[in-house]
C-alpha cells in the first residue's frame, strides 16, 4: 500500500486509518547510546510523559519496534551494530536522529565518530540539541507523527 490511488475513497480511508494506527502506538527500540539516552529516559519518565502518546514501551528487541531513536554519538565500532539493528526492524520503520552527535557528528569532528547517523541509515527526523531536552525530543516525535499522518513519509 505504498501509493494513494487517485480518486479511490476506500483506499484513502484505509491508508489514513493505517497511518493513524501507526502513529498512535509507535514502539521505540532501545538505542540509547550516550547523554541523549538519559534525556530520552527522562522523556519516558513521569514528568515528560511519553506514555500519553502510546510510546512508553521501549522494546528491547528490534523485531518488535517501529521507531529507532538514535540517541547519542555513534562510534566507528558501533556503526555495524546500528546497521544490523536497523535491518532487523520490520517495515514500516522510522528513524529519529536525536542530538547533534547523531545528526552530524556534533562537536566531535574526529576519527572516532561517524559524522551523522545518516551515513548509515535513512533518517526521517533530526532533533538538534546537545542534549535536546525532553520537550525538543517530543516535538520531533510529534512532527514525525504529523508527517506520517499527512502521508508525507510513505513506507
Amino acid at each position: 500500500m505504498a501509493t494513494t490511488a487517485p480518486g479511490n475513497l476506500l483506499i484513502t480511508t484505509v491508508e489514513r486509518a493505517a497511518n493513524w494506527a501507526r502513529t498512535r502506538s509507535m514502539f521505540p527500540a532501545t538505542f540509547g547510546l550516550a547523554c541523549c539516552a538519559i534525556e530520552m529516559m527522562a522523556t519516558g519518565a513521569g514528568h515528560y510523559d511519553l506514555a500519553r502518546f502510546g510510546m512508553e514501551v521501549f522494546r528491547a528487541s528490534p523485531r518488535q519496534a517501529d521507531l529507532m531513536i538514535v540517541a547519542g554519538r555513534v562510534s566507528q565500532k558501533m556503526a555495524p551494530v546500528l546497521r544490523q539493528v536497523y535491518d532487523q526492524m520490520p517495515d514500516p520503520k522510522w528513524v529519529v536522529s536525536m542530538g547533534a552527535c547523531a545528526s552530524s557528528g556534533g562537536m566531535f569532528n574526529n576519527y572516532a565518530l561517524v559524522q551523522g547517523v545518516d551515513q548509515i541509515v535513512a533518517v526521517d527526523i533530526y532533533v538538534p540539541g546537545c542534549p535536546p531536552g525532553p520537550q525538543s525530543l517530543m516535538h520531533g516525535i510529534l512532527t514525525l507523527h504529523d508527517k506520517i499522518m499527512s502521508g508525507e513519509i510513505v513506507r
Binding site: G32, L33, A34, I38, A42, G46, P62, V81, F108, A112
Partner: protein, 455 residues
Amino acid sequence: MTDERTAEETAESPDTVDLWVAGTEESQFSPTEEGAQEIARDDSGRRLDEQFGRVVDDDYVFDDEIAEDERMIINMGPQHPSTHGVLRLQLELEGEIIRRSKPIIGYLHTGMEKTAEQLNFSQGGTNVTRMDYLAPFHNELGYSLAVERLLGIEVPPRAAAMRVLLTELNRVSSHLVALATNGMDVGAISMMLYGFRERESILAFFEKTTGLRMNHNFIRPGGLAADLPVGWKDDVAAILEDIPARLAQYDDLLKDNPIWISRTQGVGVISAEEAIAYAITGPPLRAAGVKWDLRKAFPYSGIEKYEFDVPVGSRGDVYDRYRVRVDEIHESLKIVEQVMDSMPKGDYRVDDRKVTPPPRARIDESMEALIHHFKLFTEGFKVPPGETYVAVESPRGELGFYLVSDGESTPYRMHTRGPSFTNLQALPIAMADSLMADTVATIASMDPVMGDVDR
C-alpha cells in the same frame, strides 16, 4: 564471534578466578609472590548450593551435572536494555551459571582525548563534560582544577563554595539515576519513574543556574561561567525539603523488601582485597568496607569546611552498594544545606585578567578589556609548561585528569582516569560463578557510564 580455545584453557583451576582471555595458551596470572594469585574467591559456591536446593533436603533438588564441553558462549549487548549503555559482555555459561565473562568496550569511543588537544583550555570544559554524562559537573571540576593547578591560581571562596554546591547536587541526581536503573533492572520498575521524578527538580535548578539540564560547561578554569541566580536559596531549600521524604518512601519500597534482599544480598560480591587490587573506587569500594573517599583524603575546592560522613558497607554485594548510594545522597544533602547556609559573598571567578574574560559592560569602556576579551576568545590563554594529575570524587569513584601542557593554549595531552573504566575490570570477578539473572543486578550496581569508560 566465538573464539577457539584449547583444552588447557577450558580446564579451570578450582580456587582461582581468571579473566577469560581469548587466544592465550596459558593462564595469564602466573603464580607470583604478590597480588594476582591470592585474589581467590572463598565463598566456593555456597550461594549456588542454596539456590539449587542442595542445602535444604527437600524435593526440589537440581541434580544435573553439565559437562565441561557443553558450555555455551553467549553475547550480551552492545544493544541491550540492561547493560547501561553500550557495554558488550561475552559470557561463558554452564547451564545458568556464568563461569567466565569478558567485558568488551569501545562502542562509545569518541576520541575525546584527541579532541582535547585541538580545543583550547577554556573550551576543554565542553569536551570533558560529556565524558561522564550523569555527573557533568564533576568532570568539569576535575579539568578546571587541573588547569588551575598548572596556572597556579586559586579561585575565590564563593566560587569554591558554588562548585561544592553544584557537584554535591550532581551527586544526588546521579545516584538517583543509579537507584532508578538499579531498581528497574532488578524488577522494581516503579523505581525508574520515582528516580527520574526527583531528578527533575534538581535538573530544573541546574537549568535555572547554568542554562542546560545536562552537559553544562559551567565550571570553567578560573571559576564559574556566571553567578547563582536570584532566589537560588529558595530553590535549593525546596529540593532539600522534598528529597529526604521521598527517599524514605524508597526505603519503604526496597530496604526491607524480601524480594529485593534475596536478589541483591550476596550477589556480585567484591571483597576489599579484590577491590584494592583492581583499583576500584567509589561506592563499590566503600561497600566492600574500605573507608576511602577523596573528599576526605585529598580535599579539594574547600570541601573540608563542611561536615559529612562517609558511608561504608560490609559485604561488598549489590545490596551494600545500594545502601551506600542512598546514604551518600543523605550526606550530600547535608553538605548542600551547609553550603547554602554559609555561602560566602564575593566574586565567582578569579580576578586574573589573563584568564577570565572581563565583564561585558566593561568592553564598551576600556580598550584593554576589549583586547583581553578578543585574545581570550580567539586564541585562549596560554598555560605554562608542566604536568599534573588532579582527582575528584565523582559519584562513580576517582575521576582523575592527567594534564600536560607545553606552553601553548591547547593541552599537549589530556588523559582522563575514568572510574567506570577501571571498575568494569572487576565485573568478571563479581560475576564469577553467579547466575545469569545476577549479571544484570551486578552491572547495575557497579553503575558504569559508558561515556566515562570509552571516552
